[in-house]
Every structure is written in C-alpha cells, then in structure tokens.
C-alpha cells in the first residue's frame, strides 16, 4: 500500500496515486459506502455496522436489507418486513427454469448448474425491449431470492428428488436447508446458515464481485453480471477454495493423521486450503465465531472428530505458515460448517453464492450511479513491427 494513502475518506479526488502491486493489489478500483474492510485490523463492517455485532444477532435477510437498502437492523421494521416478503416471494421459479436444470446430469458441478439457472431466470425477467439503464432495485432484491431458490432446486436434483416449492413464508435459510436435507431444519441449523451467509455477504472487491462490477460498468443486463460473477466464484483460488478445504479435511480420520498430513503436504510444497488471503497478513477475524460454531455443531451432530481434526490442522498449519505471513481464512471453518449443515463439497461454493449475492448486488448497484467503463492499459513487450511475406498465405 502506498504510504499515507487513505482507504477511508470523505471523498476521492480522481486521479489518485497509489502503489500498484501484483494482481492490482493497492489499486483503487471503486469507492463504496456498502462495506469497509479495514486493512490494518481485517475487521469488516457493512454500512458502518461491524460484522461482529451482526453475527448471530441479525439473520441473513436483515443483513441483505442492510446491504441493499442501507437500512440498519432495528431501524426500519416496516421496510424490513416488506423486504422479507418480497425476497421470499421471489423464490417462485418459472417451470421452464427448473426443467432446464433437471435436464442436466445431476453430477454436473453445482456452480455450473447455478450459472445456467441464473441465465435462464434472466431470460424470464427481462425482455429484449427492457431499458437496462432504468431502476434496478427490484432486480437486486429478486436475485437474492432467486439464487436461493435455484440452489434449493439444484440440491434436490443432485439428490434425485422431485422439485418442491419452499414452505410458504419460510425464510431463505429455512427453504435451502429443507431442500438440502429433505426435512424441516432445526433452529440451530437455521441460525448457523444465517450466520454463514451474514459473514460471507461482502468482502471487498474479491474476484467474483469485481468481475460483476466490470460487467456492470458496460451497462450489461444484470443477470449477465451475476453469470460473470459466478464464473469467477468457482475458481480454486477464490470460492472454489472452500470446496478444496473439505476435499482435504474429510479423508483425515483422526488428529494424528491430520498432523502427519499437514507435515507431509507442507514438506511437498503443497497448499493447505483455507489458509492465506491476498488482503490479509493476519488471521481473518471471522474465524473466531465460525470455529466456535463448528465445535458446537460437530458435537450436536455426532461428529466431534471432525472438529478435532480441523483444530489439529489449524494449529499445525498456523505454526508452520504464520511465520511466512500466511494465516487462516474464512473458508476453513466456513466450509466445515456448510458441511455439517448437510452440504457435500461441490455444493459449498453454491451455498456461499447465496450470501455473496446480497453484497455483490449492493456494491454493483451503488457503483452504477457514477461508474465508468473499466479499461486499464497494458505495456507492449512483444515482437517488433513485421510484415507478412509475399502475397499472403490465403
């Protein structure tokens, strides 16, 4: 980071001068009031409200309302009630969309099915004559519910179950959990999924969000923003890492095996998924609440060994990696908690996407007001000017 550059300011005077690092680290690509990721502490706040104070106190719908409408919890109860009604009622998917998903091989990666589903939903939401520069508020609100409904449909299709609408009036978390496990969820499970979505809702300009923002800057159809964002979400270096965490941890049977695996992986120059983050040189603060939740849910779900294995890996990996500035990130315990709620590894990025949709929609909407097309330059380092020989080859 450029010395003295202020990442929290009353306004920006363009052009700005900053350091430019690999992966555009340190570059200012947006100005936002939606969220603040403090680079010195790693603390995250949505609309000025610290995420710590939202975790386990506000459910995901309240936080989506906060992010999208900018209204704090407890501040606008009428607005929130109407938001809940609308977001829940947007879960009704056109039968053609459900059929499109069901025509796919159930073993297709769920994020690919979700992307196809979102694209198809967009075909129903917007016609060729729609003015895309118009007010998009209703769409942001709808895409959060639509994504939850698509994830439910995908869970059911993967398990070979018939499609089913959510219980009327149930929350987004209740609806997804009911599809995931084909039974009514417990209160603890609902609270845990809400917690996950709240913690995953927004986290700076991570690749899925930044991709959506670039696409939005071209004034594309909003469903194309989402398709593009979901294309990045699956990447093994971003949302896909949560899936890898489970691929690595689930085969480990006990703490001894876990400890040996960490030592072996690091000795082989391998990567421990769930460790390392481009924005942090410290443990992700969201880990604390997630670790506690995983410990308690592993106990209640009769899987205490899962937490013991994870904790062993965490301690061993931290011991080896912290001196190199690599720390635990949200995906480590986040993925385990999704798994304890019933998700097999490939479903995890899809479930993350539901939470992400709220933050991403809010950031994109906000940016649309003053957005300029993203168009950086590159420096040419290729061959010098040359010509085709003779009369050409065709």
């Amino acid at each position: 980071m450029s010395s003295g550059f202020d990442w929290r300011a009353a306004k920006i005077d363009w052009p700005v001068t900053t350091d430019v690092g690999p992966g555009l680290a340190g570059v200012v690509a947006a100005e936002t009031r939606v969220m603040w990721l403090d680079p010195s502490s790693g603390q995250l706040a949505y609309r000025g409200v610290p995420v710590d104070s939202l975790a386990n106190r506000a459910d995901f719908e309240e936080v989506a309302h906060l992010l999208i409408a900018g209204k704090g919890p407890g501040g606008d109860s009428q607005g929130l009630a109407s938001f809940r009604r609308q977001v829940r009622s947007s879960r009704g998917l056109p039968p053609d969309v459900v059929e499109l998903i069901r025509a796919l091989d159930p073993d297709t990666h769920p994020t690919r099915m979700l992307r196809a589903g979102v694209s198809a939903v967009g075909c129903h939401e917007l016609t060729v004559d729609d003015d895309l520069s118009g007010d998009r508020q209703w769409r942001e609100l709808r895409v959060v519910g639509q994504t939850a409904a698509l994830v439910s449909a995908i869970c059911r299709h993967r398990a070979g179950r018939e499609p089913r609408d959510p219980e009327p009036g149930c929350s987004l978390a209740e609806g997804v959990l009911a599809s995931l496990n084909d039974r009514p969820p417990t209160a603890d499970e609902v609270r845990a999924l809400d917690l996950l979505w709240v913690l995953y809702a927004a986290h700076g300009l991570d690749p899925p969000t930044f991709t959506s923002m670039i696409v939005a800057s071209c004034l594309a159809d909003p469903y194309y923003n989402i398709v593009a964002g979901l294309s990045a979400l699956r990447g093994p270096k971003t949302g896909g890492a949560a899936e890898t965490v489970l691929d690595q941890l689930l085969p480990l049977r006990d703490p001894m095996e876990a400890e040996a695996w960490v030592a072996q992986t690091l000795a082989d120059g391998g990567v421990i998924a769930g460790f390392g983050h481009h924005a942090y040189r410290m443990p992700d603060p969201r880990v604390v609440v997630l670790r506690k939740e995983v410990a308690s849910m592993a106990r209640t779900h009769g899987r205490p060994e899962l937490f013991e294995v994870a904790r062993t890996v965490e301690v061993a990996a931290t011991g080896a990696l912290a001196p190199r500035g690599i720390y635990i990130n949200v995906n480590f315990y986040g993925a385990l908690l999704f798994h304890l709620l019933g998700a097999d590894p490939p479903l995890v990025p899809c479930l993350v996407a539901v939470g992400r949709m709220a933050g991403s929609a809010a950031l994109v909407r906000e940016a649309l007001d003053g957005i300029r097309l993203y168009r950086p330059l590159s420096r040419y380092v290729g061959p010098a000017e040359r010509r085709l020989s003779g009369e050409g080859t065709s």
Binding site: P39, R115, P207, R372
Partner: protein, 378 residues
C-alpha cells in the same frame, strides 16, 4: 503476464482504472495517438484481406503466423468442434421468445459449459486445449440464436466453408457471396484482439482465480453485451437508421452537437485519432452497400461521420469500430439486436490469448476500494 510484471511502481489513474498500466503483454500493441493496431507485431492493415480468421486466431493465440501444416491442424481442430451438445441447443426451447438474443445465447453457453468434460482440470495444458472448442461452439450457438429470432431451426455446419463463411451460412441460412464472406472475414480479423478493454479485463479477473477458460470467456461476453461496449455497434447502427439521407444526417448531427449529445460509435478510451479498424473496414462496407443497392445508407454514414469528426475531432473524438461493423452485418442480413454477437466471436480470441498469457504465474486480481465515510476527515 499482466499483473505479475515488474510494474510495481506508483501510478496515477482515474475512475475506471483510466490510465493505469496493469501489466505487460506480447499480444497486441495499440497506439492511440498514431492510430495503429498490431497483433504480435503485424499491423492489422497488413493482415486484413490477406489472411483468414483461422490464421489470425492462430497468430493471436499462439504468437506466430501458422505455416501450412500448423494451419491445417488448427483448421481441423476448429472444424472438429462445430457441433455443440444437443442439450445446449435445446435450452433455447426453455427460454421465452421475447428474451434478448444475447440472453438466449448466454443461456445456451452456460448449458454448454455444464457439458464440458474434465471440469475440474484447470492445469495449463488443459486450458491450452480449449480455445478451438470455445471458438467453434460459440459460433454454432450464436448462429442458432440468430436463426431462432426468425423462428428457424438450427442448420448443420458446412465443412467446405471456413469459420467466417460457415457462421454466416448457419446464421442466415444461405451461402454468403464471396464479397460478403470477405467483408465478414475482414470484420473478424480486425476485431480479433484489442488489449485490456473491459471484456478482456473481466475475462482476466476470472482466469486469475484459476477458473477454466470457458468461464473467463463467459465473463467477457457479459461485459461485451453491455450497451457501452459490444452493444454500441447496435446503438450506432440504430442511430444511423433513423436518419433519412446525408442532408438530414448533417442537420441532425449539427443540432445534436450543439446540444452536447454523445454519439454511440464515436470516441474511444484509447484512440484519440481515427480508429485503424474503421479505415480497414470502410472499403468493405462501401462495396457491400453498393451491391446491396443501399448506397444512400453509406453516404448517410459518411456525412454523419464527417460532421461529428469535424467538430469533435479536435477533442480526439472519432468514429470507432462500432460505427462501421453494422454497415457490414446489416447488408449481410444479420439482425440488429444480434450485432454484438459477431464482435464476441472475433474478440474472444484476444481474451483467451490474454488469459493464457496470464496463467503461468498470474496472481489473483483483487484491487481495493475506498470506503466513503462522510464522517472521515476530508
């Protein structure tokens, strides 16, 4: 290369990363002052009319003009992938007729992406095997989306036709004339690569997560579908179509200029001079419109361009490629709402080249954002 190079210096840049040098590339050189565009060292005016899209895509992707054997192999590879999965074509039956053709096209692509084998494999070797499949599948699906606008069934490809002519055949249902095929080929050639424009940049962000090449291309298509980007060729043509002849074009432009109107297809973030792609394509458009009996449209275009450039040229605003491609697509019979599609088919070549160039040691692209807090000190 981009993002991992040694440009770790302090830079000044504007909103939308204007002026930021994001990294190094060996793919294309754009000179926005002299108005030149070179692919791997070859100026586009040297390529257009002399080489096929197959040759240019090879050049852009792999770095050198193909020799006869390489061209044969590459053409065969492109030919091999001309049949996208049936499920992707069938997806069209499950989307409403009045959806935007780009949204229908997108849905077919997202379904096709579900059917790409080895989905987990994002090793470099696997990524390198993908461009031919992506170039050919997207062309077939795009042709199908265009046919669908007319309520027509998809047509099987014609193996005797090259990439450009076969696309026109599958999209319009008739064999293009030699002039049409040459003009369309030229439009593909000059639009095959254009640096880090928004769509290429979106693709690069996706590939930086180690996602697969198809996902990166989908993100690029999303950006390109926007009204400010690939959609601009449609808007530019619609503006032109409203004008009844050169005199009206001049009068309307003068009036609009006085009102400070912004004209689709004019002005470019990088070119502050005439766009070299416009100069390369104008002869083709003029010839097609002449044969087509639509010389008036050509003269209207020229009048509009001269009027706008006469006033705004001093500010560096000139016709860009979006103002001219419609004058090739329209006489060939491609529908206006589908104009961004052929642009996609060409330029995805460049996106893939940038992705493959980035992959070996590219870091995740994740810039920062400034939190605007009115209570902060100013």
């Amino acid at each position: 290369m981009i993002g991992s190079s040694q440009i770790l210096a302090e830079q000044s840049y504007g909103r939308g990363l204007e002026g930021l040098v994001a990294g190094d590339t060996a793919i294309s050189e754009i000179d926005g002052i002299a108005g030149r565009l070179l692919y791997r060292g070859y100026p586009i005016e040297d390529l257009v009319g002399r080489v096929s899209f197959e040759e240019v895509s090879y050049l852009v992707l792999f770095g050198e003009m193909p020799d006869a054997n390489q061209l044969e192999d590459w053409s065969a590879e492109l030919l091999r992938w001309r049949h996208p999965p049936r499920t992707a074509l069938d997806a069209l039956q499950r989307v409403p007729e009045n959806a935007h053709p780009l949204a229908q096209f997108r849905t077919m692509m997202t379904v096709a992406a579900c059917l790409i084998p080895e989905p987990e494999n994002t090793e470099l070797d696997a990524q390198w095997r993908r461009p031919a499949r992506i170039l050919s599948w997207t062309a077939a699906l795009a042709a199908c989306a265009i046919r669908h606008l007319e309520g027509a069934e998809p047509l099987p490809p014609r193996d005797d036709l090259g990439y450009a002519a076969n696309f026109l055949y599958q999209a319009t249902g008739r064999t293009p004339s030699a002039d049409e095929a040459a003009a369309f080929e030229a439009s593909l050639v000059v639009q095959a690569e254009h640096g880090l424009h928004a769509a290429a940049f979106a693709a690069l962000v996706v590939i930086s997560t180690d996602a697969d090449l198809g996902s990166a291309v989908l993100a690029g298509m999303g950006a390109l579908s926007g009204a400010r980007h690939g959609g601009a060729n449609q808007l530019a043509f619609e503006m032109l179509e409203q004008l009844d002849g050169p005199d009206e074009a001049r009068a309307w432009a003068r009036d609009a200029l006085a009102r400070g109107h912004r004209f689709p297809g004019f002005g470019h973030r990088v070119y502050k001079c005439p766009d070299p792609r416009v100069r390369a394509l104008e002869p083709y458009a003029a010839a097609l419109l002449e044969v087509n009996g639509n010389k008036r449209l050509w003269r209207t275009y020229l009048a509009l361009r001269e009027e706008i450039e006469g006033t705004l040229g001093a500010k560096g605003i000139f016709a860009n490629v979006d103002s001219i491609t419609g004058l090739i697509y329209h006489p060939i019979g491609l529908p206006v709402s589908a104009f961004p599609i052929p642009f996609c088919l060409a330029i995805q070549t460049g996106w893939m080249a940038h992705c493959l160039e980035y992959l070996p040691d590219g870091k995740v692209i994740a810039p920062g954002s400034v939190y605007i807090d009115s209570e902060s000190r100013a």
